[in-house]
Amino acid sequence: MSFDIPGTTLFDGAQARKGYALNKMCFSFNEAANRAAFLADEDAYCAAYGLNDRQRAAIQARNVLDLIAAGGNVYYLAKFAGIFGLDVQDIGAQQTGMSKDAFKAMLAAHAK
């Protein structure tokens, strides 16, 4: 289902179907042991969850927009980002193509 809110992908049934394996892997990162296992052998961990090539590439690139396009849900992806100590401003900056400082300035500008 396509949507006419620019820059926005709603996580609907179509996304959920596409992203199940990816989201299941990211859900597993709630546990520290799983985060460590991912870091120890990223390829094996992704293979165990049956990621497809597109998902695997997006994980490898740590690219949030690609992960969303591959069916990722931001709530689970945030746990993946957490492995690298990235917060929501880091991933906001990455997705909007800004520096983190520029992204934070943009956020603050909404106060006006």
């Binding site: 620019p6 989201n23 849900n73 945030a78």
Partner: protein, 278 residues
């Protein structure tokens, strides 16, 4: 019969927990947000609620897409927080109110709410942060009944359906044979969006109109479908349906006791709103 005191609505973003852990309450970035809380503390000290029914959304801690409920209700003696993927420190466990949980389950299922009941349930930052803001010493003075509303996967329940849920919860609490003093808590929002090229979106005008509506035209937001809410408030701003459910539970008429609105905390327009029941 149980007595309803009021409703508290608040943002719940993870950064709040980190700020509290680092004692940043007086930091210039955080001060405008934390300054919104002393009036809430005075209200709690004055009213002394026994139980809080908490409308919140799970962010992928207790629920996954293999069993994703539209409306889930806790019926556990105790609820604990847990690592959500960032290794955040856990807070003290929360005591549940099983009597009220089962009273609500019985009443709500009889009114055709198709609940998922949870006798064991982890609660995430959407529960811990507002509770921690209410009780900074982590000595929770209230027992809780958590009610989780799906905001993870579309279709979400409509704002109209969430109003109906809150309304039914309020009526059920009023019919509860107990001398407990009950408050409602709605956690989430206000406008924000974490995902996509639109990340960082906020909408101050809409947020202020929404907060105002809760006092003078409380069903105002039920005119919007979920897509319209995303457009106006952002993909995570739809969490305002928690505020709506908490307000609905108050029933007819509510008076504003306190409010605070501040941009930004983390990626979010933060709001705090305290309403007395009439």
């Amino acid at each position: 019969m149980a007595q309803i005191l009021g409703a508290l609505c608040s943002s719940h973003v993870p950064a709040i927990g980190r700020a509290m852990a680092k004692n940043l309450q007086q930091d210039p970035y955080w001060k405008p947000f934390f300054d919104g809380w002393p009036p809430v503390h005075r209200w709690l000290a004055d009213k002394r609620p026994d139980v809080a029914v908490v409308f919140y959304n799970d962010h992928g801690l207790n629920f996954f897409l293999d069993k994703l409920p539209t409306f889930a209700i806790g019926a556990a003696p105790q609820y604990t927080s847990a690592d959500e993927g960032w290794g955040i420190p856990q807070v003290a466990p929360f005591r549940g109110d099983e009597d009220l949980s089962w009273h609500l389950i019985n009443q709500l299922v009889a009114e055709d709410f198709d609940l998922t009941t949870c006798q064991e349930m982890l609660v995430d930052h959407a529960m811990t942060n507002p509770m921690h803001l209410m009780y900074p010493d982590e000595r929770w003075a209230v027992r809780i009944v958590p009610i989780a509303i799906n905001t993870v996967q579309f279709p979400l329940p409509s704002a109209r359906r969430c109003w109906a849920l809150g309304d039914a919860v309020g009526r059920a609490v009023r019919s509860w044979q107990s001398d407990a003093k009950v408050m409602f808590l709605g956690t989430g929002g206000l406008s924000h969006q974490l995902d996509g090229e639109r990340a960082g979106f906020m909408n101050k005008d809409f947020d202020l109109a929404f907060m105002e509506s809760l006092i003078h035209d409380p069903q105002w937001a039920t005119q919007f479908n979920t897509h319209q809410l995303v457009e106006k408030a952002g993909t995570q701003g739809v969490e305002l349906i928690m505020w709506l459910a908490a307000r609905a539970a108050l029933g007819d008429g509510a008076t504003l006791a306190h409010q605070n609105y501040h941009i930004p905390i983390s990626n979010t327009a933060s709001g705090v709103m305290l309403m007395d029941a009439r």
